[in-house]
Symmetry: C2
Subunit: 245 residues, 2 copies
DNA sequence: TTACAGTCTCTACCATGCAACAAACCATAG
DNA sequence: CTATGGTTTGTTGCATGGTAGAGACTGTAA
């Protein structure tokens, strides 16, 4: 049950603040185009099942079909679209079941990350987390939902980065991309009561990490993710109310 | 810490017995080509860092550069090659650190799978596992290393499938693809002593699952994966002795 | 009305030409 | 000998035309 440990440097942020920064193995243009297409799909203008033909996207973004094709393959693989060979590409509707599955994975990933972080010696992430949780508590008091959501996002990513396991970060990023569709719809999953509980859970996780207690940290984090995903799944099933453009 | 639960149907097996079966969203030709290129890379004829030019592969496999390009993107993303934009594609050497990171993830994934499986009601996987472990014990007595390796492979995949979480299976498959390079080199990681211990650990995992004890199952599985990966990482650092062709 | 067969259209898939970039090479000057 | 600049070569990246497959449609017959 013990873990060896190992390094890591950069990870992209998830959708909300996704800056067009270069990903490894892709040119900047490729990344930019990918982001534009992803935004289009996530924007909600296309309902699930809507076709995304290569030619349409090509003239929409004023490039040839080839780079579009590559971007679509990437998105397929992120789970946002479905490619039916020889037929076409379609916006994919994540089923409720898939969301549940992804949340199970999220719990596992973040638990691992917390555990790995707690196992490390001194790391600058600890101070960042301390500040983050303090700010979260203030934001919760002030009922600042947007600020709170941003801080939560930062909290989780800081722990992932702090785990110092690049492969974990890669898988986590994939996961979050797949959840992004859902997250855009049920934007602020946390209602006031939940925010209070959530803040407490963040504090608990941080304390365990500060105590260098990997088991406690993992446990606390899993509890937190479980609670928060149960909340997210509670009643608000994914609804896609975008115009069909 | 409780888990909801959820289904799953087909997963491809990992490298050794990788049959050219159709993957979702790809034509059979695409999958076949991908497998051929993957085999070429994994075959060891190209040392890490060796260039894999599109034109070369294109005439090697008698197709155009376009499908080759797509296959390479897929392999990049499996971690087997590195694409340097505008420069070329190169066989990638997984660092020791990456292997460690991957094993950490493996532990987490399989722990989750065991836990989810233990949580389910009656499932046919249980009988398969029972037979599998029994056969493993016989193979261990008979010093049948090859048979044992095959059974171990089956054991782990059966649990992943039994977890009934398709997204988990997808991520696990990616992970195992990334580990495949390493696994080809240190083929049979288990020496006789380790095999004995390993068999016992399998039995322990199975018992916990039969007892419907998710925590115990997760714990036992993580212990097992940890022990087995420590063994794999012990001294045999990846060596690439293939001819340069 | 329904079932089925033939056709027809729309789509991805693949091939190939062209352009632009990166890096290796060589020559020249300090 | 070293450093620097220009040239040359090899590679990907993008555009576009042809092809073949999948699915929709229509008409016909039961």
């Amino acid at each position: 049950m013990q873990h060896k440990l190992c390094c890591m440097q950069e990870t992209m942020n998830t959708v909300p603040g996704r800056t067009t920064e270069k990903a490894a193995g892709k040119t900047v243009e490729e990344t930019a185009l990918l982001d534009r297409v992803r935004k289009l799909v996530l924007g909600g203008d296309f309902p699930p099942g809507a076709p995304l033909s290569e030619v349409f996207l090509a003239q929409e973004f004023e490039v040839s079909r080839t780079p579009i094709r590559e971007a679509l393959k990437q998105l397929q693989h992120e789970g946002l679209v479905e490619i039916r060979p020889k037929v076409g590409t379609f916006v994919r509707e994540p089923t409720r079941r898939e969301i549940v599955e992804l949340f199970q994975l999220k719990e596992s990933f973040e638990g691992l990350a917390a555990s790995l972080l707690a196992r490390r010696g001194y790391v600058p992430e600890l101070e960042i987390l301390e500040r983050n949780v303090a700010e979260s508590e203030r934001a919760a008091e002030d009922q600042d939902a947007d600020g709170y959501a941003r801080l939560v996002h930062e909290f989780h990513w800081t722990i992932i980065r702090g785990a110092d396991n690049r492969k974990l970060a890669e898988h986590y990023e994939r996961l979050m991309n797949q959840l992004a569709y859902h997250r855009l719809v049920v934007r602020t999953v946390e209602h006031p009561g939940r925010i209070l509980a959530s803040t407490g859970e963040h504090r608990a996780v941080l304390t365990m990490i500060q105590n260098k207690d990997p088991f406690g940290a993992e446990s606390a984090m899993r509890n937190h993710v479980y609670a928060s995903s149960k909340e997210a799944l509670s009643d608000n099933r994914p609804r896609y109310g975008g115009s069909t453009n």
